[in-house]
Each structure stands twice: as C-alpha cells, then as structure tokens.
C-alpha cells in the first residue's frame, strides 16, 4: 500500500521555520534552537527523500541554525570580546523571524482584499476618431491628382523606367571593379580629401554605385586609402594613405 505525503510548499527557510515554530506551539521568542534545528534538518531530509529540490537558501539557514546551536553549547571563551564583535545570532534570527511574520500576515490580509477587489471590472478608453487621427487626405483628391504625383515621383529619379520591360537583356558590366579601382587610385592621387557622399553625387546608375563602393572597399583593404568619420552618420572623409616607403 502506498500513501502520499503532502508537503506544504514553503516560501523559503524563514517560512519553514515559522511553520515549525507554530507547530511546536511556542512563541518565536521562546523557541528552543536545539529542538528547532533538529526539526528543520529532519524536514530537509524529508524534502530530499521526496526529491524536492532544496534551494541553497535552505542550506544557508541550516548552517546558521547549527552555528547558533554550537554557540549555545560551547561556553564562550572571551565573553566581553564577543559582545562587541557581533550581535547575538539567536536574537538576530528571532528578529528576522518576527519581521518576516509581520509581512506574511500583511500578505494574507492583502490576499483577502485582492480576492474581493479583483471583482471590479474596468473599461478600455473610447477609441475616438478625431481630425488628427484621420488620414491626411483633402476632399478634392482625385485619381488624376494621384497619377500626377506618381509621375512626378518617377521623374525625379532619372534613368528609372516607368515600365519594366518583360525581356531582360544581360549586358556586360559597363565598368568593372578593376577599372574603377584604377580610376579611383588616380582620383585619390590628385585630390587630397574626398567626401564619401560627394563621390556618389554624380553617379546615378545603380550598377555604377555598387561598383564604386566595391572599389572603395578594395582600396581600403589594400591600405591605399584611409577613412575617418567624425560624427555618427556624418560624412566619411577619405584620403590617400601616406605610404611609409
């Protein structure tokens, strides 16, 4: 025949101690450390037996209890020194227990209040559509106006085509990275400081932008140029690295 032992879930070593003290029916102040230590350790063994993971805090408390117990058992060698050194560990523990008990009781009063007041239901704020939240569209908008806007937008990007042709022609790269590298080398030799943004200013072809960028990376990795950026997102100033010989 098997039976199930239900162990209360303890919220920590102080909680467990309070439980043991209340079971012994003594006041916290009058607790016998020797007895309570034994019961506490027994409880830990029981927890171990039932495969309950024992948190390190429980072990720390066990050590504290044993320390207090040993202090009681062993006569003090230098009593006057001891007093200055540290407070009575037993008294300290009792103070902690009393303090913890206060909040534990406060918690149960809060629990009652919560149970009652969680029965209040609130309402979400009204969702109100105001002029500010409405999409900014004037009433005299027409399809023609939208088309106009689109055309203007497309025209601002020279070279971009309104219609994408269905058949793509595969072209040779108009400029190769190598060509660009050579061009830039020459350019950097003639100009001392070059702005990163400036170099792309006159390039509108997407492929050329990419090639130029790759060429710059190439020059950078070859230590041909050095770059400097003073502020985040600011312009990058590039110049030719002065070779040491």
């Amino acid at each position: 025949m098997s039976y199930v032992v239900k162990l209360d879930q303890f919220e920590g070593p102080l909680d467990l101690l309070l439980h043991l003290i209340s079971k012994a029916k003594v006041k916290i102040e009058d607790v016998s450390i020797t007895e309570i230590t034994e019961q506490y350790l027994e409880m830990l063994h029981l927890m171990e037996k039932f495969d309950i993971e024992i948190a390190s805090e429980f072990l720390v408390m066990a050590a504290t209890l044993l320390h207090i117990k040993s202090c009681i058992l062993v006569p003090r060698v230098k009593p006057e020194l001891e007093e200055d050194d540290e407070a009575d560990p037993k008294q300290e523990l009792i103070t902690r227990l009393l303090e913890y008990k206060k909040y534990k009781e406060a918690a149960s009063r809060l629990k009652e209040r919560e149970a009652y007041f969680s029965g209040m239901y609130y309402k979400l704020p009204e969702e109100i559509v105001t002029k500010d939240t409405e999409d900014v569209l004037t009433l005299d908008t027409s399809i023609a106006l939208l088309q106009d806007a689109l055309c203007k937008l497309l025209q601002t990007r020279p070279g971009s085509r309104v219609r994408t042709p269905l058949i793509h022609e595969i072209k040779r790269d108009p400029i190769t990275v190598n060509e660009k590298v050579n061009y830039l080398k020459d350019y950097f030799t003639r100009n001392s400081r070059i702005s990163f943004f400036g170099i792309f200013e006159d390039i509108h072809d997407r492929e050329e932008i990419i090639v130029t960028f790759l060429a710059l990376l190439e020059l950078l990795s070859n230590n041909f140029i050095e770059v400097k950026q003073d502020i985040p997102f600011g312009d990058i100033v590039m110049k030719r690295r002065v070779s040491n010989g």
């Binding site: 007041f117 969680s118 029965g119 209040m120 609130y122 009204e126």
Partner: protein, 170 residues
C-alpha cells in the same frame, strides 16, 4: 449648470476616459478649482455607493476611474462564462506586502526580509504594473528603489497608501 449637471459631465468624461483621470484634469475641463472637484467627487462616490449603482468611482491617489461594483462580480462572471484571472501567489503577495509597507525599497531589502531570491517575482510585479522603479539609491551600484503604483492601490481597494492596514507586530 447646476451641480447635478456638473456631476453628469464628470460621469460622462470618466466613461469616455476609461483610464483614471486626475482631479486636476477634471478641474481644467470644467474650469473648476481642484479642491471643489475633490469635494464634488467625494459626493459622487458616496452617491454611487448609496444608490448601489452597478458602476462606482474608484479613487486612488487623486485620480478617478469608473469600475463595476465588486459585489456584483458573480453576475458579471456568469455573463462572461469564466472565472476570474488567477490571483497572485503567496510569494508575490509577500513581496508586494514588503514593497508596500517599506517603500521605497531595494530588491536586496526585500530579499533579506524574505530570506530568498526575489528577482523573478519583482520582475513579474513590475510587468503587472503593481510596483515600479521610483528612484535609485545613492550607494555604489545605484540599486533600484521600488514603490507601489496607483494600480496597486486600485487592485487592493485603497485610495492612498495611508489606508494600508497597519502592520501588526506579533
């Protein structure tokens, strides 16, 4: 506008707001002195209670919000067809109690009273909006000082921290 109409205006504003609004805000809308607003709100709260209305005005820290009356919650839950959301665990309530009575308080303080680590629970209480960072302590590491929120007051039926039931010693 006579007083009844002013109260009607406030009631309708509270309805639209949904969220709590402060006495100051109400005063600005109605061009009234804040002290008079508070007096009027007290009257409204009493009136709602006296008439056992389905709605009540919940006051917390000088803010006001409409809510249903907890006495009628059984019927609301019957309508929803569901029980209330799970309440706070014993560990969370203990932690909340320590923060409420000792605030502003650091996590280390809470842990020393409870004798266990409280990281998870404190984060959970912050996420639920019951406690919040109120300041930083001026010691090495500048630890966070926690305090309770207005939501805490409302959740536990308190209008201010002074209404916390006294901590009893032994």
């Amino acid at each position: 506008m006579d007083e009844r109409e002013v109260m009607g205006v406030i009631e309708s504003i509270l309805f639209v707001a949904g969220d709590p609004i402060s006495a100051k805000e109400i005063g600005q809308i109605l061009e009234m002195d804040v002290r008079n607003v508070r007096k009027l709100m007290k009257k409204m709260i009493d009136c709602f209670h006296f008439e056992r209305r389905g709605l009540q005005i919940v006051m917390a820290n000088d803010t006001y919000q409409l809510a249903t009356r907890p006495e009628y919650s059984n019927y609301i839950e019957k309508y929803i067809g569901q029980d209330r959301a799970q309440s706070l665990s014993q560990a969370s309530l203990e932690t909340l109690a320590i923060v409420a009575y000792r605030q502003p308080v650091t996590k280390a303080d809470v842990e020393s009273v409870r004798g266990v680590k409280c990281d998870y629970i404190i984060n959970m209480l912050v996420n639920r909006g019951l406690i919040q960072e109120v300041a930083r302590m001026n010691t090495p590491g500048r630890p966070i000082l926690y305090g309770t929120t207005d939501l805490f007051l409302r959740s536990f039926g308190l209008t201010s921290l002074n209404e916390l039931p006294p901590l009893e010693a032994e």
